[in-house]
Subunit: 162 residues, 4 copies
């Protein structure tokens, strides 16, 4: 197993360990793209999710963001950063910056989709937003990483189907 494959598995596992079901991401891609291409199905959508996760920039962003969520949950970060990440402060912005380094690889459609998902919060994205409200759980980065992966997969699909 080469190093690139290692990173893919590490990023996928990091998401799953935080409660992210990749099938839920594929459903969001399907729902968003159906109006443009009614033929899309979950298998095709999952292929694009996986392809996004195979990109090194995406793996690095996922591993870094999840590590910050976990470190905050375990109170391993110093104040005032700890409180900012625990509360997912509206003006923090580093979570979105990291997420947009994912969409940045997939053209401007990905960025628009990211903004849309980030505000509308459909499906699993909304579930993670609720999770964040649970005492002790921190998903400040996971939230935006999921949005970005779905947005990137939508754009990847649209570029190939379009």
């Amino acid at each position: 197993m080469n190093k690139q494959q290692d990173l893919f598995l590490a990023a996928k596992t990091a998401l799953e360990d935080r409660g992210v079901d990749l099938n839920e991401l594929a459903i969001l891609v399907c729902n968003a793209q159906k109006k443009h291409n009614p033929d899309i199905n979950e298998e095709v959508a999952m292929h694009h999710i996986i392809s996004v996760l195979k990109k090194r920039e995406v793996q690095h962003a996922v591993l870094t963001g999840i590590a910050l969520d976990v470190a905050a949950e375990q109170k391993l970060l110093p104040e005032p950063l700890l409180g900012i990440i625990e509360r997912d402060e509206g003006l923090y912005g580093v979570d979105e910056t990291l997420a947009m380094s994912i969409t940045g690889c997939y053209g401007s459609i990905a960025s628009s989709n990211f903004g849309y998902f980030d505000i509308v919060k459909p499906g699993i994205i909304g579930l993670f937003n609720d999770k964040k409200a649970k005492p002790g759980e921190v998903h400040t980065y996971a939230d935006d990483l999921i949005c970005a992966i779905v947005a990137a997969a939508c754009s990847r699909y649209a570029h190939r189907a379009g």
Copy 2:
């Protein structure tokens, strides 16, 4: 009148000459921010729209984007670029890149709002999308510039009110 004031007036006039009513932009800012701050009114929103238009990066983006729309409308651009801009091809992306240089000055909230407005197309943004369908009119850039100005004004307001 100094040069910075010149650029502000040039950008404002360029938008108005293309049919953009700044009051309509202020209404969108109000509607988007009301749920966070019920006190916002159109006068306050207009103040933030004007402040965004006073930023040099914004003026340059507006003047360049509108010039490309007008040049396309007057068939002054070479093929294949002319056709791409006339048809506002989905994968073109330079219009969004230019627009995101506007939101880039206003934090990640501005980028998310841009994506949301770009997909939902409320109010005047939807009107411009319809305008684009009229024979002879080209608003490929105007469309995204409006989205970006509104998104930037929303973020500017949120940062100051938050």
Copy 3:
């Protein structure tokens, strides 16, 4: 010949028509990467230049930027934008924004290299900077597009060799 091939040829021709010799770009890639990988040669470097030019975002950025240079040279743009582009005003920035949409597809190494080339101006980049001083010629965008293509090709090579 399919549409993607059309865009590649249009972008390549647009650069050549403005006096850009792609071999000069390959030389810059070689010189920059030699210290990391002494094996690189101009043929390999040219392969990466061509691969960068095959990317749709790059083609769109090149076609749009060159069209603005040409429109400025032919005085087809309105004031104050015409003067700003003719003089390549230091604070204009849209040229760099467009160029960075090229490097954005190739990771942060590409962005760093872009900044370096933009300031050091080696080889053909310096020649274009001198060209801009010639009366009647406008290369405000060409300048930055060249920097970005070279920087992207350097990063593309480094990612595959590294």
Copy 4:
């Protein structure tokens, strides 16, 4: 003392605790800008460094990046991320992404300067690059944060002097 002032002090202290002397950053700004404006002095340069550090996006980026360096130094991050940050792997890129969220607020001149400093590594930037070679010390983020703060201060100065 209000919250914004808190964040400023937290970011300044975080840098100083990692060995960053702000006077050294002011010297780099002076050296870089002297060729454009011979009047600049270290006091003026320091004013711009401080102004950059007063921006919320900058404070968030500094606090997050330094926290990741410290967490890596204390082996608090999981593998494979720990090793990637400890070794400052060339293709990691999240450090530069974070740094560029600093320069993003200061126009394209800041981005070009960042790339230049990142490759040429003058003064304290080079010192930090050497520090990274010391066993046990991790400055993967500090490195790029310093570059970005200096580049942003240069651009801030240039926009006001220009």
